[in-house]
Symmetry: C2
């Protein structure tokens, strides 16, 4: 068998605490703080995650999972005949919201560009490719737009030190750079 019952419970509590604190304070969240929030001693924390980097990686992976859900949903809608630009817009807005609420998301977005998990990266890029290809076929996206462009833009989404309306405006401007729409 695998984990002891109490160990499993603690692991879950640690992840929940880390999620909360990293969302709020980013990597500035301390190991002692996370342990206290989880109702656990530091040593226990280190039993489950031998290093802070490991813990952060676990959280970032959770973020990535949420991103995949959003991406998969978008791809599904595109495959069902939905407008690709609409879906791309939705994705950007989803990311902007996520970045605003959770400091860990930025790291997850960066992970898309740089290869930390080659397998997942492949999957993400494949999904995005699907959407972008469709958008180009529709003539709604400029013909030279690549997956790299989208990843590049997403990974430079403004942090949450930029107020919400500005972040939304940023998305609007970024999308204009990708789409074929002309000025009003």
């Amino acid at each position: 068998m695998g984990l002891r019952a109490d160990a499993a419970r603690n692991r879950a509590n640690i992840l929940r605490a880390a999620r909360t604190l990293i969302a709020a304070r980013g990597e500035r969240a301390g190991m002692d703080d996370i342990a206290r929030e989880a109702g656990v001693a530091v040593g226990t924390l280190y039993r489950h995650f031998p290093t802070k980097a490991d813990l952060v990686a676990a959280i970032v992976e959770e973020m990535s999972a949420r991103m995949f859900e959003a991406l998969d949903a978008a791809v599904a809608r595109v495959d069902a005949g939905g407008a690709a630009v609409t879906e791309l817009t939705t994705l950007f807005e989803w990311a902007a919201d996520a970045v605003g609420q959770d400091r860990g998301v930025k790291a997850a977005l960066r992970n898309l560009g740089m290869a930390d998990r080659p397998d997942l990266e492949k999957r993400a890029l494949a999904g995005l490719s699907r959407v972008i290809e469709a958008g180009r076929a529709e003539g709604a996206l400029r013909p030279d737009v690549t997956v790299g462009d989208v990843v590049l833009l997403m990974s430079t989404l403004p942090d949450d030190d930029v107020p919400e309306p500005a972040r939304r405006r940023w998305v609007e401007l970024a999308l204009r750079g990708l789409t074929t729409g002309t000025a009003p």
Copy 2:
């Protein structure tokens, strides 16, 4: 009279060292390192700059000065009848290069948005306004583009952890969001 001869010399050395190390390592540059690079003891460093924030502020101010030169030159060319979009492009490309070579520039760019030095901020925004207004008049910039948009985009320029060609591509995409040009 003001500074003693040796004090002035040391101050200059400190600023030079700080410039170099902050350009290379950003705010991660340590006070001890800067002092050693300047050929000076830490205490001397602290005599001239009572706190690290003060030293960084001094360097950021130097960066701002360089930015002003670029901006003023652009404004002058626009006033002389130059194309505003061209100048805006030049500004973005200048900033992208600067960010790539110097980690301190990012902080200086952020200072444009947030008010740290209200007087200088006013001047920067006035200059940018001039260029943007001209661009709109030419019909080369979309009518709804504001100074805030440009500052917003500039402050999210990719760091130097993004390779050079990608940074340049980013500028291209960002400018597309501001200009009226259609897809090729």
